[in-house]
Structure formats: structure tokens, C-alpha cells
Amino acid sequence: MGNDSFDSEAGSLGVSPDEVQFRFRDDEVADHGTVTVDACCDQTNATAVRIEPGDDARALLPFLDRLALVEVNFPTFGDGRGYSAARILREAGYTGELRAVGDVLIDQLSHMRRCGFDAFAPDKRLDEEDAVKAFATWDNVYQSAADGRKTIQELRHE
């Protein structure tokens, strides 16, 4: 997962209701509309799902193999449940696209990236230059998270 280059025009592919502004993946964008978590659990062929803040991301764990896209919605940027949802999916081995959608702002990008998001579809298009800076906020990190980066504590004891 994830290198540091991203395709800022992925949204132009127009395969989803969201406009994906930043994407850190090389594979094809999944061309399926997303369904709710409940629908995903009931219907056996869904390959794209959308998690709302109140949903339990763990309900998706039995279906991870067939999912190519998980969208996590942030109706307001201050509701941080989606950060846990993202990490839980990555910890369970999900390798498909994990897309942050909704009220996604510049100053949340670096933390979202650390939690395993590899695509971003903000409601309002973000300033590209500010976003590039934001993704690069942390030269090093204190916590182990879903991005697999070595922590400062690990670097100190290499």
C-alpha cells in the first residue's frame, strides 16, 4: 500500500458519486456504486461499501475479500469515529481502497493517511499545494499506525 506520489486527477474518472481528489494507489478505481454496511452484509455481491460514523466497521470483516472499495464518510470533520474504522479495517488485513469522503479538510489529511486511508474525496476541493504540504507534515511519527511507518521509538533503538 501507498507510495508518496498520488494521482490528483483520479476524480476525473467519474466512477463514483465522489470526486476523488487524491489517490495513493496504482490499481484501477473500482467502478461500483457503494452500498450501506447493512446492505453489504445482506447482499453477497457488493464490492463497494460506505461506512457512516455510527456503523461498526467490524461488521465488514467477513466480507473483506470481496471488497474493492470502502468509503468512510465524515459528515463533519470533528467526528473522529472514521479514524478508528479505517485502522480496524487495515488491522484486519483489508488491502482495497479506503476512501475518506465528506467534510475532509487539509488539516485532517496527515492523520487520515496514517490511519490507512489511501484515497480522499473531499466535499470541497482542497488547495493542491496546501494538501501536498499537509501530507508531508510529519518527518517522523510517535505511534505505530496503519501506514506501517517505523516509529521514533523504533528508530531510536535500531
Binding site: 488539516d107 485532517q108 518527518d139 517522523n140 511519527v141 505511534q143 521509538q153 523504533e154 531510536r156
Partner: protein, 544 residues
């Protein structure tokens, strides 16, 4: 004490730059005030009644003289010549200009300080025992563990938009000097039957409008799982803490609504999962941290003082704490001069304390949650010289843990949330008891005043608590009795109808008279209250 390495410095510098960028984007109109607000809050910048307030983090209340001195300089350069030490061992400045904020953060970063996460719905500064590493009665120094948690909680990617703010305290003594069980997470470092050191977790305490004492949810977490267990506690809260109502969003409400048992079950489940995820820092990190907090080179010396000066003897009796080395004590500098503003110090006084720390206390100071300052390692032989200098700087008030040692929030004089003033009340009460000479007779008596139900002045935990409310446009004060933030933690109960400002001061006098009349040998106010109950106090206050 802990010293930054290049990594730590880089992290703080990165945040200073990030904040400069955010402030710039706000000025350019790329960020709305609503979007900017949580960002400035996470950098300690509040908008108060009259100006911006900047809160600077003092990790686990420990700082060196260069840092203290810089705090004094900031008071002079950017504020009105003073700073205010807070109940979470931080300092805040009440008269800051927004355009100066980034420069202040840059000044702070030169002395390894910052304002990161001193506000906002994130994990706040970790607090601890102000006598850590000095006191005679601790198991180990709790600060290496607090530092491990400081790093873990700084810029945590998953826990930056929690339902509400989150406060952690770490202690390592049976005596609780940090109000540990009134925190979102209270950690007590303990030894188990096998002689191993580990962490006891209390989760879901807090004050505010719904005070709760944290229940213990795990009696022993091995040290190589400490961070992982904390991560489990936080993840359950981040996922399930209430977000529909800001007044019910603290973890204490989640723990209360689920029940401690069910919350614990969920944490244990998450913890078991996280153990396989490698979130724990490598064990050598804790060993790297410990030497930063090693004992300074203590020397044997005199173990008693010359008590011929009664003023000095009184200060020694009241304001010093027994040290682990018998030729030293920890000396408390009271920021509660009679008639003064609790916790305030001028830039000059702050620099004086810094200088004295360098001269007499191995370059180290502590901030107490009771808004006083500690010089943790003072030679008994140096006490008279220290006291003489403190007295000259108006820092020698001999009133630790007395009724004059009042905790008070900034109240309506500064705070946008307050309903009533706290500071003038504290000033009048300390003046009154000093004048009548009753302070000495009352002994240990913890009086705490909050100017609104958010309880920043810890009134729930006061032996005597006062809560300011707004009653039909007038300031009204409710009196409560029987609280404690210590190891005998309890929540105070309201006596009955409230009082106006003069009335509540009379009421404080009345309840202390009941205590004096009813106390048995050696009893503190709190002990007498617990023995005789509320009724005699109520009768004295309101009649039959």
C-alpha cells in the same frame, strides 16, 4: 528531567510550522473560523472574554529553570506581566494577541516547550505527582511512564477528534497528590505479588457538571503492554463515546451508561486484538527514559533547621514535604498570598523562582495541581536562605493546604463560560481567615471555588466547595462539603440553598465554626464532616 532528542524537537518544530500555515490560511480566508477553531484549540489558543488565552503545556508538571525563566519572559513580552498556573500543572496567559501566537510558540520551542494539545477534543497534557522523584513515599518515579504516554499521545492519528477532551494522570504512590481518580484515565504504578512493576487503570472519572470517581478496570497491566492498554481504552471511547450531546460526551458518561463491567469487557477485547498489532513502543524505550529522571547527586548534610525565627519555622512546618533523602526536603512556593489571585505570578516572580531552582534545587521545579510551585530537592541546610529570598519576593506565604491555599478558576473575570466571579471570593476569604488568625486553628482544609458548573476550580473535590451560578442575572454561590481529590477520594454534597457573595463568605465561617466545636483529637475538617454528617452543618447554616 527529560531532554528532547532531535526527533522530539523535530516534532515540535513541525507543529509550529503547521500552525503558522494554519494561521496564514485563516487570514487568507481559506479556513472559516469554525474550521480554524479546533486547530487553534489544539495549539492551546482560546478566545476568552477580553482576549485570546494561550495555555502552555508543562508535561507532568516538571520544568527546569531555563524553561521557567522563558515563561516569565513571555509574561512580560506578550502578556501584561503575569501568568496563571493551572490545576492541570500548566500555565496560561490571559492577554494574548492572535498575531503573536506563532511567535510565542517559536519562543517556547527554543526551550523545548509548546502548547500542543492543551485544548481541543484530544488527549491533553499528562499530569502527575508534583513530588515525583523526590518524595519518601513513592514506589518508583512515575514520570518515565508519563513521558512514554506523552509521546504516544502527541499527534495521535486516531485520537485527535475524540468525542471530548481527554485527561490522563499517572502516579506511583498510595498517596494521591494528582487527583488521579478524577481523570478520564488515572494510572497508578504498582507492584504485584510477584514483585513486578505494572500499571493499575482507573477509567471514567471527572469533575464538570456530572462528577464521577473513576472505577478501577484493571488492577495490573504489565509495563510492556501499557501503551497498548491505553490505546484499547481510547479506541472503545472514540468509537462509542456519545457525540450527540457535548455535555454527555466525556468518557465518564460512556463508562457510567455501559457500566464499568461492560466497558472493561470491551476494552479487554480491543486490547487482546491490539496486542497483535505491534502498537507498543519497544521495551528499551522505557529504559532509555528512566535515566533522564535519575536522582541528582544528593549530599549528606544537616537534617534539622534552626527554629529560632518563628516565621521561618512556620513556613518550614507548613510548606515543606518529606524527601526520600533525609538531608533534603521538597519546598512549596505558595502562589496564594493573602488577598492575591490563586496561581498568578508576575514575570519577575517567575524568573526569581527559576533562579532559586537553579541555586537550590538542582535546576528543577514542579507545578502543583493546587496552583503552587515546588522546588523538589532543597538541602535542609539551605532552607533558611531560600525562605529569606522567597519572603523578599512575596513568595513566602506559609499556607500550604490551609484554608488560604484556595484553588479557584479564573471565573467571570476572564472566562467566557463563567457565571460568577471566583477570584474576588478567594481573595476575600483568604484575607478574612488570615486576619482572624483562624487559619492555623483549622489546619488542613481544602477550599475550592469554581465560577460555573464546568468545575475547573475542582469544587466537587473540596473539603469545602463553592460553585458560582447565575440566579436571575445575579451571582449566586452554592456551598458543598465533604469532597476530596486524594486517595480518600469523594465528591462533595451541596448544603442547601445558595448565598450571595457576602453570604457565602459568612457560610464558610459558619461551617468552620461547626468543625471547631465538634472535632475530636487530630481530626481534619473532612474527617469531622465524615463522622458527624451534613445535619449539624445544615442546622448551623439554615436553622432547623
Amino acid at each position: 528531567m527529560y531532554k528532547y532528542d532531535n526527533y522530539d524537537q523535530q516534532m515540535v518544530d513541525a507543529r509550529v510550522e503547521e500552525f503558522r500555515g494554519q494561521a496564514k490560511r485563516r487570514l487568507e480566508g481559506k479556513l472559516t473560523e469554525d474550521q480554524f477553531k479546533p486547530l487553534r484549540l489544539m495549539n492551546g489558543l482560546y478566545l476568552q472574554l477580553h482576549a485570546y488565552m494561550l495555555r502552555v503545556a508543562i508535561p507532568y508538571g516538571t520544568l527546569n529553570s531555563a524553561q521557567m525563566s522563558a515563561l516569565g519572559d513571555i509574561a512580560d513580552k506578550y502578556d501584561r506581566g503575569y501568568g496563571h498556573f493551572t490545576t492541570r500543572q500548566n500555565i496560561q496567559y490571559n492577554w494574548i494577541k492572535l498575531e503573536d501566537a506563532a511567535d510565542i510558540l517559536a519562543d517556547l520551542s527554543k526551550v523545548e516547550m509548546h502548547a500542543i494539545q492543551t485544548s481541543g477534543n484530544c488527549i491533553r497534557n499528562i499530569s502527575s505527582d508534583h513530588f515525583a522523584g523526590a518524595t519518601h513515599d513513592e514506589l518508583v518515579d512515575p514520570r518515565p511512564y508519563a513521558e512514554l504516554l506523552r509521546q504516544w499521545s502527541s499527534f495521535h492519528p486516531e485520537f485527535t477528534y475524540l468525542p471530548r477532551k481527554f485527561k490522563i494522570a499517572v502516579i506511583a504512590a498510595e498517596k494521591d497528590r494528582a487527583a488521579m481518580r478524577l481523570h478520564d484515565i488515572g494510572i497508578q504504578i504498582v507492584k504485584n505479588d510477584a514483585g513486578e512493576i505494572g500499571a493499575r487503570f482507573f477509567v471514567g472519572g471527572g469533575m464538570g457538571r456530572t462528577p464521577m470517581i473513576a472505577p478501577m478496570i484493571r488492577d495490573f497491566v504489565p509495563l510492556d503492554q501499557l501503551v497498548t492498554y491505553a490505546e484499547g481504552c481510547l479506541r472503545v471511547y472514540n468509537r462509542y463515546g456519545r457525540r450527540d450531546n457535548k455535555y454527555k460526551a466525556r468518557i465518564k458518561i460512556l463508562v457510567h451508561e455501559l457500566g464499568a463491567e461492560e466497558y472493561t469487557r470491551q476494552v479487554e477485547e480491543e486490547f487482546a486484538h491490539l496486542l497483535d498489532q505491534g502498537v507498543e513502543p519497544p521495551r528499551p524505550e522505557l529504559e532509555r527514559l528512566k535515566p533522564f529522571f535519575a536522582d541528582p547527586p544528593f549530599e549528606d548534610g544537616p537534617k534539622t533547621v534552626d527554629r529560632s525565627d518563628p516565621d521561618f519555622a512556620l513556613w518550614v512546618d507548613r510548606n515543606t514535604h518529606r524527601h526520600k533523602h533525609d538531608s533534603y526536603v521538597s519546598a512549596v512556593i505558595s502562589l496564594k498570598p493573602v488577598g492575591g489571585i490563586p496561581g498568578d505570578a508576575t514575570g519577575e516572580q517567575i524568573r526569581t523562582m527559576a533562579r532559586l531552582a537553579k541555586q537550590y534545587s538542582f535546576d528543577e521545579l514542579r507545578v502543583m495541581h493546587t496552583q503552587n510551585i515546588v522546588l523538589p530537592h532543597v538541602k535542609i541546610a539551605d532552607l533558611h536562605a531560600l525562605w529569606t529570598e522567597l519572603d523578599a519576593a512575596e513568595l513566602g506565604a506559609p499556607n500550604l493546604d490551609t484554608i488560604e491555599d484556595i484553588i479557584a478558576c479564573p471565573g467571570l473575570d476572564y472566562c467566557a463560560l463563567a457565571n460568577a466571579r471566583s477570584i474576588p471570593l478567594a481573595q476575600r476569604i483568604s484575607e478574612r481567615f488570615d486576619k482572624s488568625g483562624k487559619t492555623a486553628e483549622l489546619g488542613e482544609l481544602k477550599l475550592k471555588i469554581s465560577g460555573c458548573i464546568n468545575a475547573c476550580g475542582h469544587h466537587h473535590a473540596g473539603h469545602i466547595g463553592i460553585l458560582g451560578v447565575d440566579k436571575k442575572g445575579k451571582e449566586n454561590y452554592q456551598l458543598s462539603l465533604g469532597g476530596s481529590e486524594a486517595e480518600d477520594v469523594s465528591l462533595a454534597k451541596i448544603t442547601g440553598p445558595g448565598f450571595d457573595e457576602d453570604g457565602v463568605i459568612e457560610a464558610v465561617e459558619t461551617v468552620t465554626d461547626v468543625y471547631i466545636a465538634q472535632r475530636e483529637d487530630g481530626e481534619r475538617f473532612l474527617d469531622t464532616y465524615r463522622r458527624i454528617g451534613m445535619s449539624p452543618f445544615k442546622e448551623a447554616l439554615y436553622g432547623k
